[in-house]
Amino acid sequence: MPKTDPILEQITSSDYKYGFVSNIESEKAPKGLDEDTVRFISAKKEEPEWMLEWRLKAFRAWKEMAPPKWSNLDIPEINFQDIIYYSAPKKKPKLESLDEVDPELLDTFNRLGISLEEQKRLTGVAVDAVLDSVSVATTFREKLGELGIIFCSMSEAVKDHPDLVRKYIGSVVPARDNFYSALNSAVFSDGSFCYIPKGVRCPMELSTYFRINEANTGQFERTLIVAEEGSYVSYLEGCTAPMRDENQLHAAVVEIHAAKNAEVKYSTVQNWYPGDKKGKGGIYNFVTKRGICAGANSKISWTQVETGSAITWKYPSCILKGDNSIGEFYSVAVTNNFQQADTGTKMTHLGKNTKSRIVSKGISAGKSQNSYRGQVEISPRASNSRNYSQCDSLLLGDQCGAHTFPYLDVKNKTANVEHEATTSKIGEDQIFYCNQRGIDTEEAVALIVNGYAKEVLKQLPMEFAVEAQKLLAISLEGSVG
């Protein structure tokens, strides 16, 4: 096989398909971050005093912290005073129907192929769309309301359901958990809040689309999902962002609380701007996602398809506190060109008979670096706990890197922990085999990669899985051929 493969070079060099900027006038906070910025954000959102105090406490903690250095990432110095921490579309319409939505916004959604109308009509998905920092459209709320389900923006939740927010915010990811969670806690602009009451099975997938839309505006979403005893919810998060030259910081926090016998499925498709072929621009994505299986027999399942961002630092994790609780992590992470990803999970087994399952599929192309980092911790009282981890890496070309960092910390002898890892290269012979059946190289790569990632993709809800498959193909377009 020739050393430099023109096929591989081509897939590794395709352009981001969702690069455009929509022109919605925004109201911004001044650049930089100090206590006044935090007060400005809190005032803008008409928050109660306790919320402001909580933010300020987080801000003071953040000031004393430093960004983590342990990841396998080369992160340029970030000037946190050179960032605008709040921006909102000027009008925040109270929406009765989609007719009232800013037509330009609708157009933005349409160009992304995620028209709310279509979503409402075809998929039955309730959408809480976050454009920049403020939620502008919420649908199906009434129907959910009949079941006692609360699904709204975080800002609204702070106003309308302060007791719930106050009880759970920071309960899974404390503000001072890490540098980025502290930052988020101080300046979070909006996000989603979801509450499923006892015994209720949420009848539809809850979905939020995020979009970063303002140059130099960090995005600091905060999502909180509370599933009460015996309830079930499947939550979808999906993102695309416009093309930008400047790097954009993104530091989200997601917290999930699952009570006894509750089940939460959280699925993500992440496609933020990854930077250009030369590694210029792109989103910096530093996310803290964690769920706690607080009650017995509860279950939290994370599924992620990560194709975007210049830098990804993300470890959706589970604290398995309740006996017999289950944590799952399914991940496909694609890196191309100069993208870097350090992603994985942490499974903390505290309760007896707790189980966790980790399936990670990394795909590296171009000159990218893709790392899996996972920690499985079995505490002394977590008898008969089980973990299964499978970490596979697929390489396209010979200039990319795949790395695996599994950590095991087992403090109970009855635990059963398994780890499997493989690394493979996408074969020229596989591509030729497809070619010989009339399938062009681009589609061949898409088929092969989707086959490789199938175990993860099948965890996604149907309509999301289709989108994710397309995304994998688009992300690797041009890297072979």
Binding site: Y433, C434, R437, D440, L447, G451
Partner: protein
């Protein structure tokens, strides 16, 4: 159908095909035989367009078009099918989805509408009977965990699905027991038609007991050194390849 004229090819600078000429007409079955390393599989690969090989000279015309100018997928869409000696595994990709992509690409190229799910499934079920394999093969990943025989039968099944004009079988008989060989041969025979041609690359005469060739060519040292009818194959079976080698030495 296909006209090969003085075709020369090499791999990593090593000359393998040293000038092959072959003319296959519609409906004809040509067997290419020869000892190991004579260039049989290289010929099959070059015709299918595998990139590892460099074409150093000569020409190939397929239905009047310059074949060597076409990308591998275009050759396939134009109607060339290669049954691989070593079919490739593609984990996670079901045979059904693989064939759906392939069939629709080929149909699109031929100006036919895409098959909808129902029609496609019907076609699958009809064609899979040819090779007597279980239908659950369709939901399994392409060739993954298949036995040698299943892989080869899967190749013939794919051939039936793609409806090629020229099918090239590269040592499809290797590694098959007699029962599997018969099934594969029956599959191929049922696909014979006045419009479809075959080039059957094989080391042994055995397959030709079941698939009767119109012509037999012996490839040695990158050249066709002998051509004849199926009696030539029988002679090779009886005498081996050594006398061919001897003859060549004498000529040289």
């Amino acid at each position: 159908m296909i006209e090969i004229n003085e075709l020369k090819a090499s791999v990593e600078g090593k000359e393998i095909l040293r000038g092959i000429s072959l003319d296959v007409k519609p409906g004809e079955v040509h067997a290419i035989m020869g000892p190991n390393g004579s260039g049989k599989s290289t010929l099959a690969s070059v015709l299918a367009g595998r990139e590892d090989y460099d074409v150093d000279g000569g020409s190939v015309h397929f239905l009047g078009n310059d074949l060597l100018d076409m990308a591998p997928e275009d050759r396939a869409r134009e109607g060339i099918f290669l049954a691989f000696q070593y079919p490739v595994e593609i984990p996670g990709l079901s045979t059904t989805n693989f064939l759906k992509s392939a069939v629709n690409k080929v149909r699109e190229h031929r100006g036919l509408p895409k098959l909808d799910a129902v029609k496609f499934l019907k076609l699958l079920k009809e064609k899979i009977k040819l090779v007597e394999i279980d239908q659950d093969l369709l939901s399994r990943s392409v060739n993954e965990g298949f036995s040698g025989g299943e892989k080869k039968r899967n190749e013939v099944f794919q051939m039936a699905m793609l409806d090629p004009k020229l099918a090239i079988l590269d040592e499809t008989d290797s590694g098959l027991d007699i029962d599997a060989l018969k099934i594969v041969a029956n599959g191929v025979n049922s696909l014979r038609s006045p419009e479809r041609s075959f080039i059957i690359v094989t080391h042994y005469q055995r397959l030709l007991d079941f698939i009767q060739p119109d012509y037999v060519h012996v490839l040695y040292n990158g050249r066709i050194v002998k051509s004849g009818t199926k009696e030539l194959a029988l002679e090779l079976e009886e005498r081996g390849y050594d006398w061919i080698k001897e003859e060549q030495k004498e000529t040289a």
